[in-house]
Subunit: 566 residues, 2 copies
């Protein structure tokens, strides 16, 4: 009997049901005391020359502590805790400090100048049960920012008080994977900058750190670049649906200050029809019919990769975009190129003959050229997995591969010794399951049916099918939204709270910190992911992000009672 | 060659691609002239004693004509039409008149006092190509209201002008089915009154005429009634999540003034657990575990139908709700009763023994009792199809049956000679396809997977499998939203524009007015439903309803070009 109790404590103690942290920290000890924030609570920094973006983050949190009204998800909400809150010790301040001999740099500079695998996001956060001072220690301002995000997203509100029920609390945390992203398609339908910034805020609360910005595609080219302003002027849906250079810089700055990298994807050579609105000379099979023969989606069209002029155009386009972008990463995309499009294009055929090249050789050269531009500008290049697995193009050794078609492709990429991120359509695509959009087909499904539930995404194992030796190749992963059937009107609803599932998979890791699975029949029962994700949802709504309900509120207030096994 | 052209005209002429009416009117002749509204355009009424709600509707439309900014969905948007708009004739006014010898009553009174099968919603709207006066004639203010809705939702905006491209226009219209509804679950998660009113507005624009209000369920009882205020006080999620008597009256008035009936469903005897928060004595198997044995959804619980006290309680509850409600219809629901819940309930067993009844007899009596209350108050009673088909209860002859489990059930109901509305889960359920919400099941689907696309809903045939003699039993139909995974945060997105598909099915009918199918391989190609529904979507967004995108904007601007057969 004693042994059983002991085992239960081992399992349950690290993740008390009344502590709704998301993602689960990698190290945690928690007590059972209630503590609240003093009415004079403040956040202090124990070093000089506090970077402005860290100071801004502190101010945002102090605002949240005033404006958040999220009450704990139990019957009676905050009133269930009123007595213990009334009697609780008050925390007077949180003090931030850096370990010794650390160069103090803005959060944005940590994000922009340190390679994604070399950053230090670790932090230690302590909240006493009886003392008055909480502490946050890290090796970098970026680590402090992550610890602040934990502190920012953990308090319960009731009757003017902010409290937790699990002091003393000691969180020793760092991410399992360096790359934790969200891929955002802003081409098929346009999203205003305010949508992107709201999304970045929410991403930062769950410690996502990459906005992979699929900014342009065949349908529209909303990106304004100095070298070719005509691309947006003619290729965007309207003059109001353009990301100006100022918008881009503003988004990148906003992201970086929140510990988030912007990896812009200029998807090439496919998915580029909209370039032809201004430069038809660079596009093969421009809007050619039937599109089903020449592209995966309407309208057909892709860059004339065999043309020296087009290669130069692409290089100049990448350079002009890079001039707008801080950071150490960029992507040339590369998914879904279509061979009939080139094989029937007279300009391409003539160029291939002149160059004495096959289309495969031209494609290989094209990729090397744009990778060369990224490399020359200090950007780690990313590329879509079909370029490597289906077209066997030559890539730089430091390339990050975006594995997207199927989770099974990860093994093939790993076998080539390339680093990669997981973006499997069979687990992570947020837009699947909404039906057919290419006609009146009554029985039509989306190609990646069914809808990817949060449970499905959350069950993803980043190390599945990989050997131990291959595990270091996993940089992390990202959940994408493709916008054929999404727009500003449903951004929050299609993304949240499901995106938080990916955030925990890649922060907390392939398993729970104790090695147990996060979900499924073998999951540790004490880690109630559903209850914690409900909390994320209600916290997001409280802050104005229109995350969808995962359950009737009756269930959200009674964790576990709606589960089929209860 | 001449014959081919002639055939094309026959097919295309009735539904010009540049006239985005939704639903398709049942009679239409259209020309090719552009006309615009004069800067001094006004709406006049050719009779005295104009009811206030008709006058309000006119004012709303005049406001829309000032505030709408929807431009036609073509490349270049409104600028594509600028020249023809510049040269177009101006319409100076729209004159509303009633046919002779008609009693002038408010729209709300037409809705409230005339049975749903006896209303006259027909109207004739003419818009001249060269004259200056448009006319709207009807046999009732309700007919005028429907015609105004057509007028309200047809204009294109550009550069301060409102215009159409298909004058002269003569629309001779009336609905194919009298009942065209939306079923709204406000129990599983709560929606503020403002959400309901916004939905009512949008419903009226596409001529839906019934809000079937599934106001309470097992998870929450947000309905405040005078006889039992404790039901909401204890059964609602919170004091802020209650529909007060004043709210109910306000919603009903708002609906009625927009030509919409409110059919409140007090779902009984199942789906009533929340009543037990205030009155546990009336609920069998109250929150009993495991819920999977005692209910289709958590928490378990249903009315003790064999108890005389509970029957009296139910009758008083219906009466108290009726006291709040205008209108000629009401519903006692009745879906998904659970026999083990009653069979293991000692109170129920004792009452059955005392009454010398079987549970089937008690159920039959219960239904007759609540139908009796509705009938005594002049309400046509509605009931869910399983009560009739699975439990064989006795219902009043004028009962309307809500056929919901499967579209195939309609035949069985028709064979009993009962009138019914279509609400088939395999065509119309707006919430399907969002995955499992009762636990962490990674492979979980929603029970009514997959997602019901607009194409699926739109393809529904109200007369499928019915004999000609049975067709008169079809009152119409409704698409429902169940709110286990929906809430205020995604109401617009989950409902619109898909609900418009149901609106056209039941206004325009089982086929197009010319007898051709609306959709599918045999559909008349000239009726581009996708293009018109895109227009509905953009019009809704323009008016602040966050309807989701059905396609990339590139496709929406180029009707047909994204279809798989193009």
């Amino acid at each position: 009997m004693v042994i059983v109790v002991f085992l239960c404590l081992l399992i349950l103690a690290p993740f008390p049901s009344s502590l709704g942290l998301w993602p689960i920290p990698r190290g945690l000890s928690a007590g059972t005391a209630t503590v609240k924030l003093s009415s004079s609570f403040d956040i202090h920094v124990a070093f000089n020359n506090v970077p402005a973006d860290l100071d801004d983050a502190i101010h945002r949190i102090k605002t949240h502590l005033k404006t958040d009204t999220f009450e704990r998800l139990v019957v009676g909400r905050g009133s269930a805790d009123a007595n213990s809150v009334h009697r609780a010790f008050s925390i007077k301040d949180l003090t931030l400090s850096l370990t010794q001999n650390v160069t103090i740099r803005p959060v944005a500079v940590e994000v922009n100048t340190v390679g994604i695998e070399d950053r230090d996001e670790s932090y230690i956060l302590t909240i006493p049960a009886k003392g008055t001072q909480a502490t946050l220690v890290a090796n970098s301002t970026l680590g402090l920012f992550r610890g602040l995000s934990t502190f920012d997203f953990m308090w319960y509100h009731f009757d003017g008080e902010k409290y937790i029920l699990n002091a003393p609390l000691r969180i020793t945390d760092s991410p399992a994977f360096p790359y934790r992203g969200f891929s955002f398609d802003t081409s098929r339908n346009f999203y205003p900058v305010s949508d992107i910034k709201r999304t970045l805020d929410a991403m930062s609360w769950v410690k996502l750190n990459v906005l992979y910005w699929h900014i342009a595609d065949s349908q529209a080219f909303p990106l304004q670049v100095a070298a070719f302003p005509e691309l947006a002027a003619r290729g965007a849906y309207s003059q109001e649906e353009i990301y100006t250079e100022s918008d881009i810089k503003s988004v990148v700055k906003y992201a970086n200050e929140r510990g988030i990298d912007v990896v812009m994807e200029l998807d090439t050579p496919g998915h580029t029809t909209a370039i032809g609105m201004a430069h038809p000379e660079h596009i093969a099979c421009f809007a050619k019919s039937p599109w089903t023969k020449y592209a995966n989606e309407p309208p057909a069209g892709q860059l004339r990769i065999a043309s020296a002029d087009t290669v130069n155009f692409a290089k100049k386009l990448f350079q002009s975009a890079i001039d707008l972008l801080d950071g150490t990463m960029m992507s040339s995309g590369g998914d879904e190129v279509n061979l009939p499009c080139w094989n029937e294009d007279e300009d391409t055929l003539a160029a291939l003959e002149q160059n004495n090249q096959t289309i495969a050789q031209a494609l290989d050269q094209f990729v090397q050229e744009v990778q060369g531009v990224m490399n020359a500008n200090g950007k780690m290049p990313f590329i879509k997995s079909d370029m490597v697995l289906e077209h066997n193009v030559t890539v730089l050794n430091n390339t990050g591969v975006v594995v997207w078609k199927s989770s099974l492709d990860a093994v093939s990429v790993a076998q080539r010794g390339l680093r990669f991120i997981h973006q499997p359509s069979n687990y992570f695509y947020l837009d699947c399951g909404a039906g057919d959009w290419v006609g009146n087909n009554v029985l039509g499904n989306s190609w990646c049916d069914p809808f990817k539930t949060w449970q499905r995404a959350y069950s993803f194992d980043p190390y599945a099918n990989l050997t131990t030796d291959q595990q270091h190749l996993v940089l992390g992963g990202q959940m994408p939204i493709w916008s054929e059937q999404s727009s500003s009107e449903n951004l929050d609803q299609i993304v949240w709270p499901r995106l938080a599932a990916g955030a925990e998979v890649f922060w907390t890791g392939a398993t729970l910190p104790d090695g147990n699975p996060r979900l499924g029949v073998n999951a540790t029962s004490g880690v109630n992911a559903f209850a914690r994700l409900n909390e994320v949802r209600y916290r997001l709504v409280d802050r104005g992000v229109k995350a969808i309900a995962l359950q009737p509120k009756w269930c959200a207030l009674r964790p576990g009672l709606c589960d089929v096994d209860s």
